[in-house]
């Protein structure tokens, strides 16, 4: 009896979480007649897949896509490289002030973005970076506290005997990082890469503040612009929304195992 209740709750709640996606997908393939029908058409008879290509052509979405891809790819590479480098530094060296600096690093996670928003805008404006993609890419090359923490925890689980052996063979610190630890970190790097990709892909406030020129817009800005211009073109907006959701969803399904493992494994190890 209790089990049945739990099943009912799980299925009902799962449906609640997934329904908004499905509803958007169904809206995206509706004909104009199905769209305005009341009561709402829950399962259209004809699925108009051409709505996707139609919607895509209504605004310079190819340009927005190109900008998004540039930001996502370059910031993810930068984040993987810099955060793993810093994590290795904290995990495998002893140096004066290390623990204090690490606490400082953790503390920066509590600083609200709103406080940095205005001075960062002024800084990038001074550098002439407004209306370029640089403000969305360059900071990612200087590591992020949360990712450093994650990777450091991962490196700590790797026996130091491996470093020892490599050092015997004449490897220096850089080689130990680059040739041994970077490959060993792969599962954790998938995790960091996934989070960075998704954050950069979804980011709205950063682009909103730094980009004014439509030729520099990323996809989220493009969708917001589109939504403002064609408020009534619900089908097209739904289609673009679905397209915008696809890459993070695909990546999530690929990386799910790593996300669950790390989340569910972390406290077991600790």
């Amino acid at each position: 009896m209790r089990k049945t209740l739990a099943y009912a709750a799980l299925i009902f709640l799962s449906a609640l979480f997934v329904a908004p996606f499905l509803w958007t997908l169904i809206t995206a393939v509706k004909s104009q007649a199905d769209l305005v029908a009341y009561p709402p058409v829950l399962w259209p008879a004809d699925w108009h897949w051409e709505n996707f290509t139609d919607a895509w052509g209504k605004l310079s979405f190819n340009i927005f896509l190109k900008n998004s891809v540039i930001v996502v790819v370059l910031s993810t590479i930068g984040q993987l490289f810099s955060s793993s480098l810093v994590a290795f530094g904290f995990a495998r060296f002893r140096f004066p002030g290390r623990d204090a600096i690490f606490v400082l690093l953790l503390a920066t996670m509590m600083i609200p973005w709103d406080v940095k928003m205005i001075p960062l805008y002024m800084e990038f404006n001074y550098l002439g970076w407004i209306n370029t993609l640089k403000p969305l890419i360059v900071p990612a090359w200087f590591s992020e506290a949360f990712f450093v923490f994650l990777l450091r925890q991962y490196i700590m689980t790797i026996p130091t005997e491996i470093d020892e052996a490599a050092r015997m063979d004449g490897a220096n610190a850089w080689q130990i990082y680059w040739k041994i630890h970077l490959p060993l970190m792969a599962p954790a790097l998938v995790l960091v890469g996934t989070f960075q990709f998704i954050n950069a892909w979804n980011d709205y406030l950063g682009p909103l503040i730094y980009l004014n020129d439509q030729t520099t817009y990323t996809l989220p800005l493009g969708l917001a612009l589109f939504k403002g211009l064609h408020e009534v073109d619900v089908v097209s907006i739904a289609a673009v929304t679905i397209i915008l959701c696809l890459p993070p969803l695909a990546l999530f399904f690929y990386a799910q195992r790593y996300i669950m493992d790390s989340a569910l494994g972390s406290s077991v190890k600790g």
Partner: protein
């Protein structure tokens, strides 16, 4: 590079200098901290002491921005109140719901990975897409939500057009992304030793008492973490309000963060906006510290032997 990773030496317990190598490794963070965190923070404080238009003459005004904010700007208090109201709705609901979902998943019934994925899915999309989806669900005339509610005999409210419901609508849309907190609780639940429950069962401790005396104490570090991160994200809420309700209707969702944003990028009053962002920073810090101090009374860390009464 002259030095070696310190831990590879036999005398790894002794702290020794490792030369410049570790500093080179952590230099990206150091530089990023200086240029993208510490520098901006300090600069923002300096700005807050100025009348600082985007173009034109800036003048030092001391603490005047803060004085005006507290004494002569009713919108500051209104917006702060709206944000506090949102936090009061969002923070407890986020904690309770993600905890309950984690408990359900932890029963390990058939198909658990599927339910887990379903609950986590909305967390990977956000911002504009999330808002677009919810703006239709909430629509008074065509919205799916009110249509479904009508089957239960409920005449659904005008979610986004009613000053009483708009903040509830934003709360629900925000809760859709509770997957992250849920995973943290699930991890915590799975790390509770099964023997504790068995021992309790053998001694005849009822289920509710097991939750109160085993589950909650063992999960208290995760509760604390989620508590603090929820407060921070509630106070920073901007994207959803900006796009879903644009602060309306009648300013009923004109969040504090949105007022800061408008002052900076609409009214171009950078100094005043910077001052308000510092107030937000201080409020978040104060709340976090309060929660942490209070938490010493209920957070239990494994391996910690607590003397009673050592936390006043």
């Amino acid at each position: 590079m002259a030095s070696q990773p310190a831990v590879t030496r036999p005398s790894r317990r002794k702290a020794r200098g490792a030369g410049i190598a570790p500093w080179l490794f952590i230099s990206p963070w150091i530089l990023g901290f200086l240029f993208f965190t510490l520098g901006p923070l300090a600069f923002s404080f300096v700005m807050s002491l100025h009348d600082w238009p985007v173009v034109g003459q800036r003048t030092f005004v001391g603490l005047d921005n803060y004085r005006v904010m507290f004494l002569h700007d009713p919108q500051f208090w209104t917006s702060l109140g709206i944000t506090v109201k949102f936090a009061a709705l969002f923070v407890p609901l986020n904690i309770v719901l993600s905890f309950l979902l984690a408990v359900l998943l932890n029963l390990n019934l058939k198909g658990t990975p599927i339910y887990r994925t379903a609950f986590y899915l909305p967390s990977v999309i956000s911002g504009v897409a999330l808002v677009t989806i919810w703006s239709w669900l909430y629509s008074k005339e065509y919205g799916l939500l009110n249509y479904l509610l009508s089957f239960a005999g409920i005449d659904g409210p005008n979610w986004l057009g009613d000053t009483g419901w708009s903040i509830v609508a934003i709360t629900i849309a925000s809760l859709w992304g509770l997957g992250g907190s849920m995973l943290i609780f699930l991890a915590g639940l799975q790390s509770v030793p099964k023997e504790l429950y068995e021992a309790a069962r053998v001694s005849g401790v009822p289920a509710w008492a097991q939750v109160v005396h085993i589950t909650l104490p063992m999960l208290s570090p995760m509760l604390l973490f989620t508590f603090i991160t929820s407060i921070i994200s509630a106070f920073q809420q901007l994207t959803i309000a900006l796009l879903l309700t644009k602060g309306g209707p009648v300013g009923s969702t004109y969040f504090f963060a949105m007022y800061i944003y408008d002052n900076a990028f609409k009214f171009h009053d950078m100094g005043y906006a910077a001052a308000m962002s510092w107030v937000m920073f201080l409020i978040i810090m104060a709340l976090s510290m309060l929660v942490m101090r209070w938490s010493s009374a209920w957070v239990y860390y494994e391996g910690e032997v607590r003397k009673d009464g050592d936390h006043a």
